[in-house]
């Protein structure tokens, strides 16, 4: 056809009217995006908020294990890299809390819920650190496990979150290089250093395998349906194992799971069932460092309350 006078649809997806939840879900279910001030069903808003808030909490609490080493970094370059890495995590917390704030929950309320133990953060940040090797293992493998899920979130139906994940993923890729460099350097050092790395890996492997959560029934996963996230827990874990198991083994490190193997036939990794009871207990505040970390946060937050009061005025001011 030549000079087509056909009317082009606005885009390939069904539009939705304010209040029409069914049309809204059809929109997000077919790759449609939602902006902060678009109308959205309350349950979608609540689901995104819960998801992003937990992510933000994890970034903020994830600062603390590495922060134990910020005064102990052993060279000038490591001092710079570690401080910068932790700074990035604080920055990620800010980016994510900003996304969550625009969904209607004030930052102060989110911090208070975190400090009071009413909201959660990722399991890996409930464990103590013991040596400089932990700095390497956390930045390399914990961040790698995180980036696998974060990359899948760059397609989230909630557009402000998706955009934020693009920025975060780029920064995390720097962290992984920093962590891998710390580990590689130690592996090329003394026997004692190699043993230190192995000991750290042995401690972190269990929490790493639990990190993406138990396999879920995709049919029942609303976050998946609504496009808030794009991949399920087991897909993420498989992806992590595919990339990182070879990279761990090539350094002469041993993975503390005798059942870990790649099954060619099914095309998937087999492994010892992670301790899901431990995961549940840890994320509900019963991990080895859960309470000390929360207490440290409460104390440092209280110590600086006067600064926020001075600059920002009283929180949740009664006078509008």
């Amino acid at each position: 056809m030549d000079d087509a006078d056909t009317i082009q649809p606005l885009n390939g997806r069904p539009p939705y009217e304010t209040g029409d939840a069914e049309a809204f879900y059809a929109h997000v279910g077919t790759g449609g995006k939602v902006e902060a001030d678009d109308w959205m069903p309350e349950e979608y808003r609540a689901a995104v908020l819960k998801f992003v808030e937990m992510h933000a909490n994890s970034e903020l609490m994830g600062v603390l294990p590495e922060r134990d080493w910020i005064m102990r970094a052993p060279t000038l370059r490591r001092k710079l890299a570690l401080t910068s890495k932790i700074q990035d995590e604080v920055g990620h917390a800010q980016l994510l809390y900003r996304v969550a704030e625009d969904l209607g929950k004030p930052r102060a309320a989110m911090l208070q819920d975190l400090l009071d133990g009413r909201t959660k953060f990722h399991n890996v940040f409930h464990y103590p650190t013991r040596s400089w090797a932990d700095v390497g293992i956390i930045a390399w493998l914990v961040d790698a496990a995180a980036i696998v899920s974060q990359q899948a979130l760059r397609d989230s139906s909630y557009a402000p979150y998706a955009r934020t994940m693009k920025k975060i993923c780029w920064e995390e890729s720097v962290h992984i290089m920093h962590g891998r460099d710390v580990v590689l350097t130690m592996m090329n050092g003394t026997d004692a250093q190699r043993a230190m790395v192995q000991e750290a890996l042995d401690r972190w492997w269990g929490p790493l395998m639990q990190m993406h959560g138990p396999p879920t029934d995709p049919a029942k996963d609303k976050d998946l349906h609504w496009g808030i996230k794009a991949k399920n827990n087991e897909q993420l874990r498989q992806e992590f194992l595919s990339i990182y198991v070879p990279r761990i083994l090539e350094l002469g490190l041993r993975i503390p799971d005798p059942n870990l193997r790649y099954d060619e036939a099914s095309g998937r990794w087999e492994y010892t069932e992670p301790d899901w009871a431990e995961l549940k207990s840890v994320v509900t505040g019963h991990g080895p460092a859960s309470q000390s970390r929360l207490q440290f946060r409460r104390d440092s937050y209280a110590d600086t309350q006067w600064v926020r009061d001075t600059l920002l005025g009283p929180a949740d001011a009664a006078v509008a």
């Binding site: 900003r98 600059l311 949740d316």
Partner: protein, 101 residues
């Protein structure tokens, strides 16, 4: 939100001559700290040539599809609305046959 807390939208230009693109936002009680924080969040890796920092409440948003994507044909306003391939072929053939006569 606290009394003096404000949200600032940050736009960044990656290189000289590039367009200003929305980068994200920061909370700050005033313009001066907003500038410092914008610099940190969107420039600390040397990734920006210029930043614009705008109080969110100074932004006027327009997203009404009736205003931005009106449903009637606007194809005459875009290069892609002019499909000339067949006309050009016909014209060329005509010109060639006239020249050959």
């Amino acid at each position: 939100m606290s009394t003096n807390e404000r949200i600032w939208e940050v736009f960044r230009q990656e290189d000289e001559g590039d367009p200003m693109v929305h980068a994200g936002n920061v909370n700050a009680p005033d313009e001066e700290l907003a500038m410092h924080y914008a610099r940190e969040f969107y420039g600390r890796r040397g990734e920006s040539h210029r930043l614009w920092i705008v109080a969110r409440d100074a932004v006027t948003e327009l997203d009404d599809p009736d205003l931005l994507k009106p449903p009637f044909d606007r194809s005459h306003k875009k290069p892609g609305g002019y499909i000339i391939k067949h006309k050009l072929e016909a014209a060329k053939q005509r010109a060639a046959s006239e020249a050959g006569e």
